[in-house]
Symmetry: D3
Subunit: 137 residues, 6 copies
C-alpha cells in the first residue's frame, strides 16, 4: 500500500521566559536578549504533528486526523495552552522552554501514545518568522 | 549541475462525501462523522506539486513553472475544480475521496505526463488545519 | 465609555450549487458558469462576525468572544458546517446560496439573538480571492 | 487633494493574564476562563495603525510609513514587546489587559504624537481568530 | 433590497522606484530611502476592489465577480502586471508611483467603467506590512 | 543530543528581469513570457534559511536565530533588498536571476559563513504561488 504523511496543524497560546539558572544574568541577557525579561512574555505557538503510514484501503485514511487532534489535545495542549511553560507544565520541568526543547518534549509525549514508527515530524513555531522541526533523530 | 526542487501551488474547489459502500451506516458515521453527511459538503483544496531536477544553465529553470501549471490544470484541475469528487471524476471512481486517496490519484495522473524521476511530491490540503503528502513511496 | 468593534473569525465547510429554477439552463450556465455544475462543489467558507458596543469597565470586554463563538456555532455553524447549502439548511430554503445571500441570512439569524444595535457586520468569503460584507443596510 | 487611509501592520509578543481584582476568583474564572490562569500566558499580538489624510503632491505620501513605524515602535512597541502587559507597562496600569483595553490605550498613546484628526483606526488582534477595532469614538 | 459590499482580491508583480524629479538627490534619499535606489526594485502588489449595491433577487449577486475580475484585468492588470510602474504605464505618467498614487489612479480607471456609485473602495498593498485605502473622497 | 532543524523566514523586495543574452529575443519571449519585459518588474521575495544541528544543552538552542538573522541580513539582504537583481548584486553577476539561481547563489553566500554541515536548506519564493528549494545537492 502507498505510504502517505498526514499532518495536523494546531495552536496554543502560552507564556514563557528564556533564562538559564546555570548562567549569569549577564550571560542570560547576552544569549536571550529581550526573551529573558523577568516577567516573561508569550506567543501563539503553532504546532504541526506529522504521522506516516500506509493508507488503510478500507477507510482511505492513514489515521483518522480527528483522533490525532484529540490525542494531541489530551497529552499536549491541555497542559500547555493558556499556561506558562516555565512553571505550569510537568513534562517541561528542568528544561529551558526554547522552541527546540518544546518540540523535543512534545515528540516524547506523542511517541508514548502513537504506535512505533508512525510519528514522523513535530514542528513548533513561536511566530511567523521562525519554526523548528524535530524528526526524532 | 545543482539539483533544485520547484513547487507550484494551485487550488480547486470541490464537493465530496466520505462514505464507504463496504461499511455499515453506523461504521461510516463512526469513522467519518460529519464528513459522511448524505448530501455532501466541500472544500477549497490546496494542491502543491513539486518537481526535482538539475537547473538548465541555458534558462536558469529546472522546468518552466508556467508549463507545470498548464499541465496540472489540464490533467487534474479541469476534472476536479468545481466538481463533485464522488461522482464527476473518472480517475477517482471506486475510491473514497479522502485527502490521502486524492493525493495518490493526482500523483498517478502526473506521473504519466512528467518524465521519470522528476515528480517529487504531491501535497493536498482540505483546510488550513491539515494536509497530506505523497512522495510515490 | 469608548465604543469598540470586536470581531470573531470562524470557518465552515459546505457544499453548494448556484442554480436558479427561474432561469433556463442556458442562462444558469451563462450567469454561474462552473458554479452551476449539476453535482455541486464546495468551499471552506470564512465567516467574520463583528459586534459593536461600549467596553464594560468591570470586565474590559465589549462582549465575551467565547460566548459569541458559542452563539454563532449554535445558530449558524451547526446548520451549515459539513452541510449542503442547497438542501440541508432550513433558513436558506428558497434562496440561491451565493455568498451575498448567505451573509444576509446569517445576519438575520444573528440579529434575533444579539441585542439591538450590537451586530455591526457579517463578512462571508468563499475563497481567499473574494469576500462579501453585509452591514444590515 | 484626495484623502487616503494608510495602514502599517506591526507585531509584538507579550504575556498577559485576564483577572480583575474587583471580582471574586469564581467570577474571574467564569468570565475569563483559561485566560485567568494564575501564571499567565501570552500571544503574538497583531497591531494595525491607520492614518488618514490628503496625499502630499510633492511626495505622493499621506505620511512616510517608515516614520509611522518608528513612532509606533518608540511610543508603543518598546514598552509592550517581550513584556508582561499586567506588570511591565506603565500606561496599562490599572486596566485589565483585554484586547479592547490595549487598543484604547494604544490609541491614546498615538493620539498624543500624531497631529489632530490624522489617527483613524487602531486594530489589535490576539490571534488569527479575533481582532478588535477602535476608532476613537 | 439589502445592500452588500463585494470585494475581489487580485495581485500583480511590478517594479518601481520612488524618486521625484522636483526634489534634489539628497531630498529624494531622505524621503524615500532605499526606495529611491536608481535601478529600482519591485513588489507583489495586492489589490482589492470593492463594489457596493443591492443584491439582484434574480441572481443573488450584487455583481458577477467573474466580470469584475475580467474588467480589472483588462483596464488595470494588463498594464501594470510584470511592468515597471515608472515607465510602462500611460495612466501613471507624471506621478510618483507610491501606493497612494497607484490606488487613486486605479480608482480613476475603474470609475470610468463601473456605473456611478458602485465603486466603493480600492485597497493597494506593497507588502504584508502595509496597505492604503482610497474611497474616492 | 537530539538533532533539530531551525528555520528563519525573511523577506526582501527586489526588481528583476528574466532575459538571457545567449538567446534570441524570440526565444527569450517564448521561455520567459512577461518576465522578460524590457523594463523589468519585481517581487516581494520570501527566503527561508534552515540550519541543522544538535541542541546545545546549556542554551536550549541549536543556534541563536537572532544571529542567523543578522548574518543573513549582512551577507544576503543588504545586497538584494530594494535592489535590482540583474545589475546591483555582484554575486549574481552573469546569472539569470530565476528563483533557482537566486537560491543557489544565496546558499553559496551562506555556506561561507556557517560552519560545515550546518546549512540544511534554502527556500526562495517569488510569490505565494511558487517556491524553490535548494539543499546543496
Amino acid at each position: 500500500m502507498p505510504i502517505v504523511r498526514v499532518t495536523r496543524r494546531l495552536h496554543f497560546s502560552a507564556g514563557h521566559r528564556l533564562h538559564s539558572p546555570e548562567l549569569s544574568d549577564k550571560e542570560n541577557r547576552e544569549i536571550y536578549g529581550l526573551c529573558s525579561n523577568p516577567n516573561g512574555h508569550g506567543h501563539n505557538y503553532g504546532l504541526e504533528v506529522t504521522l506516516k503510514g500506509e493508507v488503510d484501503p478500507r477507510t482511505g485514511y492513514v489515521v483518522d486526523l480527528k483522533r490525532v487532534r484529540e490525542t494531541v489535545e489530551e497529552v499536549v495542549l491541555r497542559d500547555v495552552d493558556h499556561a506558562n511553560l516555565n512553571v505550569d507544565v510537568p513534562w517541561l520541568e528542568g528544561t529551558i522552554p526554547t522552541a527546540e526543547n518544546v518540540a523535543i518534549a512534545i515528540w516524547r509525549r506523542l511517541e508514548e501514545v502513537f504506535p512505533g514508527g508512525v510519528l514522523d515530524r513535530v514542528v513548533v513555531s513561536e511566530s511567523e518568522r521562525n519554526y523548528v522541526e524535530y524528526r526524532g533523530e
